[in-house]
Symmetry: C2
């Protein structure tokens, strides 16, 4: 059983000018902390979240009804906690929900102070850089000048990378897992199909579905199903589901086909529909659009004509990068691009390519080689 | 410029009992033929089509208004014709539209003779085996006892394979390109998401959209976008689109981001939306469900407890198999499974793994190594 976590909130009343040019007059940040900040505030570790996660990184809530997502356990509970690879007996760990999200921080489901109505689709486009700016405000409020480490997987890894560029003096280490320096055309394509499924759902109402007392559930289901396929590897799907029919006795002893185009025939279909249905009940459609767009837009090399080595010139942090052999969404080749660009700048880089079958999802799994690598890095390199 | 093709039709009034148990009282088959059947009817080559193609394999229509799809040129015109790899100066080539399709043969948009109304979702589920059965009826009508070769790519390759199992005496050669002995869980998953997008479109009306004078265009667009991504390789998408913004001067000289979640930002988005829009205007939604389900169901090893070598025991045909290195939908490994199972049965097999960047779509492309392989096989092995 894990420890008890408690969500907190910080109100920031300084207006925030976003990268898109819009100004947020004020905003709330939901966050959690685990462990104790030491006397010289040198043991802080910031964990950045990916698409559908939140500030609730580790632990469980005392009251299950306070759970953000269907389960109360933090999304990286196997990584962060007392005695875990990121050990809260030694480190003061911070989880923060990004603005634009739907789990507590200001986002499209919040009230727009200028109108008194829910923001909906009027919520401005936010970027990885904007998130990092707000995360720095949270550190200011917590009295933390410099992070021992910033860490994240996937989109969270992009935030960790951006930290080392936006605030090079404020980060000693960046731990970037299953991430990339930008999205490929194929990545953007999958995001775009998911967004089109949401936007063309008649219940989307141009993003003002709450005014119509409805939710674009059909679109969200499709978006989640697409996402889910890309998080897994072909191998793990074959191992887990294969061509097994739903309600078959086993892989070897199958039943007859039902011959249906709309009903469920294969186990994989049942699984995907379930994932889609669950997601459509707890995730906000406008948030999905915003977060996938933040993924699309992130591209630190863009300002340097695509030259990542030039873009990484300001970096001062040391890096640990981890990738997974079967991750076809953020393939090892993308991590290696970052390693090379950091080495071009004579930065200190550790890199582990873990042979894991789970595809992109591997970054959330409890794999001993992966966790061992992170543990060793925190013990020996980040060590405070 | 290609030669002039002409669509024909065959009415079959023998009732057809389908694999699902339903009976089609009668049906039409649209087909085309190119070249001349020789005196002993030994030079016939049947071309089987994949998801969104038809009997219009090669040539152009004299009257462009007769075009089934937006362009009048046959879908495999680079492969089939006078002097082409499948040379219609020597072979009598037959293209046939499968039942359940929407391009002329009996399908869900046809009239159900029992009710006098459009079949819609009442059209029975058809399988690869059913298609082969109807193709054999067409050969009977054309006076062809044995095919010199049966050939197809992707789902078309599954039909070619099934021919060698259902009618081993009627096929001398099978040419199976970019295909597989069955779909993986991931393949089925992509099909299922596409189907869910169609079925949950409010304009689908349980498959009776024509009665409501509407079409489930939103769902079809999403289905096509998903399909399109999986037909291409990550590499070719990066080469063709990369992260180029729409209306940017070039990859090097980009414009500023527009910061939009619903508008088009990247070139790849524009391309996918265009493909989706086009498809939604000419393809039938019920047909999409039926054809993807036929793909899911095909699994000749199923009757032998998953043992493909045992399943291939009845095969008498010689095989040419071709796969493409960047095809992640029907990977070379799947073709190799078939090669092994055929060799286990001491069948004669030629196999080419072509290093091509175009992903699954490579089977429709004019690649000299690929076309050279097919040409040599027809010249030297199929030779009549």
């Amino acid at each position: 059983m894990s420890f008890i976590a408690e969500a907190k909130s910080l109100s920031i009343s300084d207006p925030l000018t976003l990268q898109c040019g819009a100004v947020l007059p004020s905003y709330e940040l939901s966050y959690e902390t685990y462990g104790r900040l030491n006397a010289d505030a040198s043991n802080a570790v910031l964990i950045c979240h990916a698409l559908n996660a939140s500030h609730h990184v580790a632990g469980v809530y005392a009251d299950e009804t306070g759970a953000i997502q269907p389960k109360s356990e933090g999304w990286w509970d196997n990584m962060v906690g007392p005695g875990k690879p990121v050990d809260t007996n030694r480190f003061f760990v911070i989880g923060v929900n990004n603005i634009g999200s739907c789990f507590g921080s200001t986002g499209p489901a919040s009230i727009n102070p200028a109108t008194g109505a829910v923001w909906g689709a009027d919520f401005p486009v936010v970027t990885v850089e904007d998130w990092v700016t707000t995360q720095a405000k949270l550190l200011d409020a917590l009295g933390i000048t410099q992070l021992a480490a910033v860490m994240g997987g996937s989109l969270g890894g992009m935030q960790a990378t951006s930290w080392t560029l936006q605030y090079p003096e404020r980060v000693r280490h960046a731990v970037v897992v299953a991430s990339a320096p930008n999205l490929t055309a194929e990545n953007i394509a999958f995001n775009e199909v998911a967004r089109r499924a949401i936007v063309t759902d008649p219940d989307f109402h141009e993003g003002f579905y709450r005014r119509h007392d409805t939710l674009p559930r059909r679109g969200l289901r499709i978006a989640r199903m697409i996402g889910h396929i890309t998080y897994l590897s072909d191998d793990v799907m074959n191992a887990k589901f294969g061509r097994r029919l739903r309600d078959a006795v086993s892989n070897a002893v199958q039943r007859d086909y039902h011959f249906t185009t709309q009903g469920i025939e294969f186990e994989i279909e049942s699984y995907l529909r379930y994932q889609g249905d669950k997601f459509a009940e707890y995730f906000d459609a406008n948030t999905y659009l915003l977060i996938t767009r933040a993924l699309d837009y992130f591209d630190p090399a863009r300002a340097c004509g695509g030259d990542l080595s030039a873009a990484f010139a300001p970096v001062k942090a040391k890096f640990l990068l981890v990738s997974f052999s079967t991750d076809w969404r953020f393939s090892p080749a993308r991590s290696r691009e970052m390693v090379r660009a950091l080495l071009d700048n004579h930065r200190r880089v550790s890199y582990a390519e873990v042979d894991a079958p789970h595809g992109h999802d591997a970054f959330l799994m409890d794999d001993s080689r992966y966790h061992g690598t992170v543990r060793a890095y925190f013990d020996k390199e980040v060590a405070v």
